[in-house]
């Protein structure tokens, strides 16, 4: 129910605001809901607010699981 997309923090403006970038599109958003954010981090953005940090290791692990299940079927097919 909530359109939210991952975008990368490219500039910290102040304690509560940052600029994020997704494929060249940039927007000033609020980071008031998160602590300890750094340039380079990926965040999930919804209505101009960062809701959570995206964990790159977990993302990689999830992709690995997809591939594992997918590859297994290729082997057995």
């Amino acid at each position: 129910m909530c359109l939210a997309i991952p975008a990368q923090v490219v500039e910290m403006v102040d304690d509560e605001h940052a600029v994020v970038d997704m494929s060249g599109v940039r927007k000033l958003i609020s980071i008031a809901l998160l602590d300890e954010l750094a340039v380079g981090d990926y965040v999930i953005v919804h209505v101009g607010y960062a809701l959570s940090r995206l964990d790159p290791e977990e993302a990689a692990e999830t992709l690995r699981l997809f591939s594992e299940y997918s590859a297994l079927t290729v082997q057995t097919a």
Binding site: P6, I44, G48, Y49, L51, L54, T62, S67
Partner: protein, 382 residues
């Protein structure tokens, strides 16, 4: 687009779909409810059903804040902006939803009301700052994903002493709605309604971004009390397929656990800071009427008295309006997963996106709109 494209890979999808086909037990049905409108939208927009075996049936749930907003509350907002000299700021989703008598915010705007579409509540704050002699009311809707931004904005308004800004709060909560659906489904099953479609639910796909805020813990009751597996899934189509696979495995094994597929953004405890800010600004309403689900206790939020200055319901007299749904409208049953959009007598005939009778047809992720817009060709083929 990083962290998006990889999760839409068509080849991996074929592999997962084959896996699902291999793991479903012959002759067994799997009725899975995807609670969240965002999942409804993803499923329809990518045609995920085409990749699933017939035994797997996806039921659209009520996780669409536009769909569950009672038309009376919407009508109150239309009346407010026409009656008072205010600027009403709203997300785009609400502009075409019919209130009582089919009126909409967009029509009110055409009649001269000052309705402005915004992407974010922070835009509404900007408008209030730029026009100190006009009062700006923000029409707040949404589940726990959209509520923290409203909390931040109200705190900001208080910090700045911005007095020409208030919020018309219609924020609702996910666990009570989920509980209502599951209880409903259980009573239907116990009453033995007989029809295969009614009251059989085997598992749930849990919301993605609500869960980034509330965490995975609040869903434990689904497994503990209702003995259904629930898998929190990200929004991308591979996430949804993976969640379906995990649910099928649990169902086959007779398990009922809460699993998290969206580990890259959801933790068990969620976003504690966001939860704290929500608790600081909002309290539970004793009851709130949900379109389609009826009156649910402790299911919606109101603004705390100490923030009365920024509560539109205290700054203005907003009489409650009871607006009955159109007689033929089956949104209530569609929202509860009892009817599919195509089971509604007026679907695609009297009720279309051009002329919606109910909110399921207006919201982009409402089950009826999603099916009409993306999937109705399947009925024609039959």
């Amino acid at each position: 687009m990083k962290y998006i494209d990889e999760f839409r890979d068509g080849q991996v999808a074929q592999g997962l779909a084959t896996r699902i086909r291999q793991e479903v037990e012959p002759g067994r049905d799997y009725a899975l409810m995807e609670f969240c409108g965002g999942h409804t939208h993803a499923i329809c927009r990518y045609g995920i059903e085409d990749l699933l075996p017939d035994q797997v049936r996806l039921i659209h749930g009520p996780g669409c804040p536009v769909c569950v907003l009672p038309s009376g509350r919407l009508q109150s907002a239309i009346d407010l902006v026409e009656r008072e000299q205010i600027i009403l700021c709203s997300y785009g989703d609400l502009l075409r939803v019919p209130g009582a008598h089919g009126d909409t915010l967009l029509r009110a705007k055409a009649r001269g009301a000052n309705v402005q579409m915004v992407y974010s509540i922070s835009d509404a704050l900007d408008i209030a700052r730029a026009q100190p002699d006009r009062h700006v009311v923000f029409f707040a809707i949404g589940f726990e994903t959209t509520t923290p931004p409203t909390a931040v904005a109200i705190l900001q308004a208080r910090r700045e002493g911005l007095h020409n800004f208030s919020v018309y709060c219609n924020h609702v909560l996910t666990p009570p709605a989920l509980r209502a659906i599951l209880t409903d489904q259980r009573s239907l099953a116990e009453a033995g309604s007989g029809k295969q479609d009614h009251g059989t639910l085997h598992g749930c796909i849990g919301p993605a971004h609500v869960s980034t805020i509330i965490g995975s813990e609040p869903y434990q009751f689904v497994a503990a009390e209702h003995r259904h597996p629930l898998v929190i899934a990200g929004f991308e189509p591979l996430d949804v397929l993976q969640a379906i696979l995990l649910l099928i495995r649990q169902i086959n094994a007779g398990e009922a656990k809460v699993e998290n597929e969206y580990t890259r953004a959801v933790t068990p405890e969620g976003n504690r800071k966001a939860q704290r800010l929500m608790a600081e600004v909002f309290l539970l309403r004793p009851g709130f009427e949900w379109r389609g689900l009826g009156e649910l206790p402790d299911s919606a939020l109101a603004i705390r008295p100490e923030f009365a200055e920024w509560d539109a319901e205290r700054r203005f007299v907003i009489p409650a309006i009871q607006a009955a749904d159109h007689k033929a409208c089956a949104c209530a049953e569609v929202l509860r997963g009892i009817k599919r959009p195509q089971d509604c007598k007026v679907f695609g005939i009297a009720c279309t996106p051009d002329h919606p009778l109910g909110s399921c047809m207006v919201s982009a992720e409402g089950a009826c709109a999603a099916h009409y817009h993306y999937g109705r060709f399947r009925q024609a083929a039959v």
